[in-house]
């Protein structure tokens, strides 16, 4: 399996954090709150579209009625997406092994 790119990883993790069911607005706001990075909605849509096509995420169109009176796209991470995240994390740990004496592990992230 191909490794996930950093932006994809960020997106997938954010969706998972938001109870694995998040609208675009939720994702953008969460990422901004957490990392200070601003993602545009267009970029988000394009990236999620690609991830969906790869099968790592799924999207559903929420019909108007319950959620604010308009169409909204909700994203979820599929089991394959979770597997990809796991693989990515493993790779990460492997890569970081034995580096601790040069770069200290972060104490507090939030």
């Amino acid at each position: 399996m191909k490794t996930l790119s950093k932006p994809d990883e960020i997106l997938l993790l954010t969706i998972l954090r938001l109870d694995n069911d998040a609208s675009s607005i939720d994702i953008v706001r969460d990422i901004e709150d957490r990392t200070g990075k601003i993602i545009t909605f267009g970029a988000l849509w394009v990236s999620m579209d690609i991830l969906t096509k790869k099968g790592l995420a799924a999207k559903r169109m929420d019909e108007p009625g319950e959620s604010g009176g308009r169409k909204k796209i909700f994203y979820t991470v599929t089991s394959e997406g979770i597997a990809a995240l796991e693989a990515s994390r493993k790779l990460h740990t492997k890569l970081w092994q034995g580096i601790d004496h040069i770069i200290d592990a972060p104490k507090d992230v939030s």
Binding site: F41, A43, W45, K71
Partner: protein, 860 residues
């Protein structure tokens, strides 16, 4: 749904432009929701700024993604198109061939027409140049203005700043032992500033300051000096009868092919105007340039008034007027030919005829495409049905089909331009014009090709694409979709194609018949063995003594390869003379004085009267039948006509009537010929009839003797058949152009028919096989197949023949002598089209008929 602001709606529309409209449109909603959130938390200013970034960034990303998607789709439909084109190789080939031939022809015609429009436009001051003409209202003729007018106008009137008189004369350049004939232009120094003929070497010095300065054209300089710079060198040139040495002052750049002015060399006009340039009794071609601030139309209008004082000083000046013609219009205005000896101008009709032929051929090729696409629909039903089931919308299929046409068209365009480049020499020969090929770096050819692409594309692509994309998948899959072969639209198109082909065949037949008819009206004898030797123009008068001519004649007669030789005072066809008829009106007839052997040399039959060898009266006249019919009442033999003899009028009796002959154009009616037998006349032309077997040796020995008699002159000879052919060059060219275009048209129409038959036979293969099994003979099956198309060809014929009749009737009216429009011409054209169509269909169907029907039935 809440009310949306205008901005919101605009953004929804903008984002919805891409693929997955529904989803991308929600991005706009997201952005607006987020904006309200931002206003609450960050304040209005930051929100505004951040939202702007949001919009710009989103558009940017979506655009990239959309483009990638589009390219993917394009690749996809390109692949589908190529696959389809490859599978139907024969049809693709037919379409490619037809379209590329049509496009090649169009490109050539475009070059031709473009040349017409840019003719002479390379002169920087073309808008300020004009040609001066003179008109005599008493006798009603046009002539070139008087020689001193140009300089007088420049010095007297402020509107006219420069003037160049032009006189052209043939000269002979002598280099070592070879002689080169060249046309020289005598002119004024203003020539260099008025016309844009840049010099390659040398400077445009004022050649009136020093005598014997000469400028050479690039072509002649190449011929003599190859690539060396000849400035400052001396050459010998003969005008009239003496060689003079000229110093070369410069060499021009190669002349543009679109120049009306052509010359091999330029020198001062003083060399050509014998009485000096300031003599009002001499006339010479004159070009003027008006001042930059003057308006050309204004000068043209006032020109008569400006020049009035000069004419008033002349005898008969009250009858004369000067007129001004803008040089810009020279190439397309036949009237200016009276005042100038420049290259003959063109007729706009030729552009129109060529363009309409190109249009017809393009139409034929487009019809092929439409017909094949529509008839081939049956085989694409499943393909398109399946694609629709898999989610393709009509628009996508339509676009893909249009793209398919685009590919074919683009390929045939490339092929067509290559073909045009290839056949350009042939086209030049056909039109007798030095058409220059478009350079691919200039925008005009791209504009033209773009226009052609759009035109032909919309002509060919839209109808089949609409028809095919309409197919409903459900109907196809249930096998309910039937395409009958009887689409009335494509049948009408076939009729139209054949109508055009037959029309062009009729034109070809009639034009070439008229051409042969005109050629046949000249002598009956074969003129390709008779040579005309022109002494009058190439040898100067003091060297052209009658004794020498007689010596020459005796020498020629003694040659073994020569059967007859005769002398004549004028060219074949004679000089124009005015003869008074019984009412005292003057008529132009052509007359010449000849010696005894004239009739036997040219093979003219004497219809009435006696052979010239037998008459006692030496100075007897022979008239042509036409002349006798027109001017003589009763029996012409013995009647007299008043003729000039040794500077006095004499009445000379008519000794005989000869059959009509004419080497002048028969387009206009002529009044016939008068031939006078006079052995002591001043002869200038020799006619020699050769025996066929030893012609080349005889010609070369005659030539040798000629240079012995008259050294340093050119041997000017032409075969009479060639000179007659030259007169009808225009007709023969058109007859060839129409013949070629008719064959192209027929070829394209038949290739379309070929493709259609192929499709029909594949569709009816099962039916044909069953018929064969049940006992139908090959002939019966053939009849079945042929019936489908030959009816259409017949209908095409019915449409074409009356049109051809009407058009050709009008065309023939321009000729004084014309062939009859007999019914068999049309019958022949119909036969030709019928046979070729039947052969095309027949050959195709033979293959199916001859295969074992069991084999065909087993395929299913």
């Amino acid at each position: 749904m809440s009310r949306q602001s205008l901005w919101h709606r605009f953004l929804r529309w903008l984002f919805g432009l891409g693929y997955y409209r529904d989803e991308t449109a929600t991005i706009a909603d997201d952005i607006f929701d987020h904006y309200e959130y931002l206003v609450k938390h960050r304040g209005r200013f930051a929100a505004f700024f951040l939202t702007f970034l949001q919009i710009a960034g989103s558009i940017h990303r979506l655009l990239i993604s959309h483009t990638i998607w589009r390219l993917g789709m394009l690749k996809n439909s390109f692949r589908i198109s190529l696959r389809h084109l490859k599978r139907n190789g024969i049809h693709t080939a037919i379409n490619l061939m037809g379209l590329s031939i049509a496009i090649a022809w169009s490109v050539l015609v475009f070059c031709f027409v473009r040349d017409e429009f840019i003719f002479d436009k390379f002169h920087k001051d073309i808008d300020r140049l004009a040609l001066v003409g003179a008109h005599d209202s008493q006798y009603g003729f046009e002539f070139t203005p008087h020689a001193p007018l140009g300089p007088a106008l420049v010095s007297d009137s402020p509107e006219i700043v420069e003037a160049a008189r032009l006189a052209d004369e043939d000269g002979i350049i002598k280099i070592r032992d070879t002689l080169i004939q060249a046309t020289f232009l005598g002119t004024d120094p203003d020539f260099f500033t008025m016309f844009t003929f840049p010099l390659k070497w040398g400077t445009s010095i004022d050649f009136t300051q020093r005598d014997h300065f000469l400028f050479l054209s690039h072509k002649i300089s190449q011929k003599i000096f190859e690539n060396a710079n000849p400035v400052g060198r001396t050459i010998f040139v003969k005008f009239g009868n003496v060689f003079q040495d000229f110093e070369i002052a410069g060499v021009f750049e190669p002349l543009p092919e679109t120049s009306s002015l052509t010359f091999d060399g330029v020198l001062s006009i003083d060399h050509f105007l014998k009485n000096g340039v300031n003599d009002w009794k001499q006339n010479v071609e004159l070009f003027i340039k008006i001042a930059p601030e003057s308006e050309m139309s204004d000068v043209v209008n006032r020109f008569e008034k400006i020049t009035k004082p000069y004419l008033d000083a002349l005898p008969r000046g009250e009858y004369l007027t000067y007129q001004l013609f803008p040089f810009k219009r020279y190439h397309r205005d036949n009237k200016m030919l009276f005042y100038s000896s420049l290259k003959p101008s063109s007729s706009p009709e030729s552009s129109w005829i060529l363009a309409s032929i190109a249009g017809l051929i393009l139409l034929l090729a487009s019809i092929n495409y439409i017909n094949l696409a529509v008839a081939g629909m049956t085989y694409r039903l499943k393909d398109i049905g399946l694609r629709k089931i898999l989610g393709a919308v009509r628009r996508q299929i339509f676009q893909q089909l249009m793209g398919e046409t685009g590919i074919v068209l683009l390929a045939s365009m490339v092929l067509g331009i290559i073909m045009a480049k290839w056949t350009l020499p042939l086209f030049r020969l056909l039109t007798a014009r030095s058409v220059s090929f478009v350079s691919l770096t200039k925008p005009d050819i791209w504009l033209f090709c773009g226009a052609l692409f759009v035109l032909v594309g919309s002509l060919t692509a839209v109808y089949p694409a609409l028809l095919l994309s309409r197919i409903e998948s459900s109907a196809v899959m249930r096998g309910r979709y039937r395409v009958t072969g009887r689409n009335p639209f494509s049948r009408a198109l076939i009729v139209f194609q054949f109508a055009i082909s037959v029309f062009l065949i009729c034109l070809t037949l009639i034009i070439s018949r008229q051409h042969h008819f005109l050629l046949g009206r000249h002598f009956g004898a074969n003129l390709n063995q008779v040579m005309q030797i022109n002494l009058a123009y190439s040898v100067s008068p003091e060297h052209l003594t009658q004794e020498r001519i007689q010596d020459f004649k005796k020498f020629i007669a003694s040659q073994p390869g020569v059967s007859h030789v005769t002398c004549s005072s004028a060219r074949l066809g004679g000089e124009a003379n005015v003869i008074k008829d019984f009412d005292g009106h003057g008529h132009i007839v052509f007359s010449s004085k000849v010696d005894f052997h004239f009739f036997s040399t040219l093979g003219l039959r004497i219809k009435q009267g006696s052979l010239p060898e037998e008459i006692s009266n030496e100075h007897s006249l022979f008239v042509s039948e036409q002349f006798a019919r027109k001017f003589i009442q009763g029996n012409p033999i013995g009647q007299t006509i008043e003729r000039v003899m040794r500077a006095s009028y004499k009445n000379i009796p008519i000794a005989g009537v000869i059959e009509d002959f004419n080497v002048l154009s028969l387009k206009r009616d002529v009044n016939g010929q008068v031939i006078q037998i006079d052995p002591d006349a001043e002869f200038g032309f020799l006619y020699v009839r050769f025996r066929e077997e030893s012609m080349p040796e005889a010609v070369s020995s005659i030539k040798k003797f000629y240079t012995h008699l008259w050294p340093d002159t050119l041997f000017d000879s032409i075969f009479v058949s060639d000179s007659v052919a030259q007169i009808y060059g225009q007709e023969s060219r058109w007859s060839q152009i129409v013949r070629i275009s008719a064959s192209i048209a027929l070829f394209i129409a038949c290739s379309g028919l070929f493709g259609l038959t192929l499709l029909m036979i594949i569709r009816r293969r099962k039916e044909i096989s069953i018929r064969r099994v049940l006992g139908a003979g090959p002939l019966q099956v053939m009849k079945l197949v042929q019936k489908n198309f030959l009816g259409l060809v017949l209908l095409g014929n019915c449409l074409a023949c009356p049109c051809a009749y009407l058009v050709m009737h009008r065309w023939l009216r321009d000729f004084a002598h014309r062939t009859q429009l007999s019914w068999w011409i049309f019958a022949l054209a119909a036969m030709v089209s019928f046979i070729i169509a039947a052969l095309t269909v027949g050959l195709q169907s033979m293959k199916t008929i001859r295969t074992n029907p069991a084999h065909n039935l087993r395929i299913e």
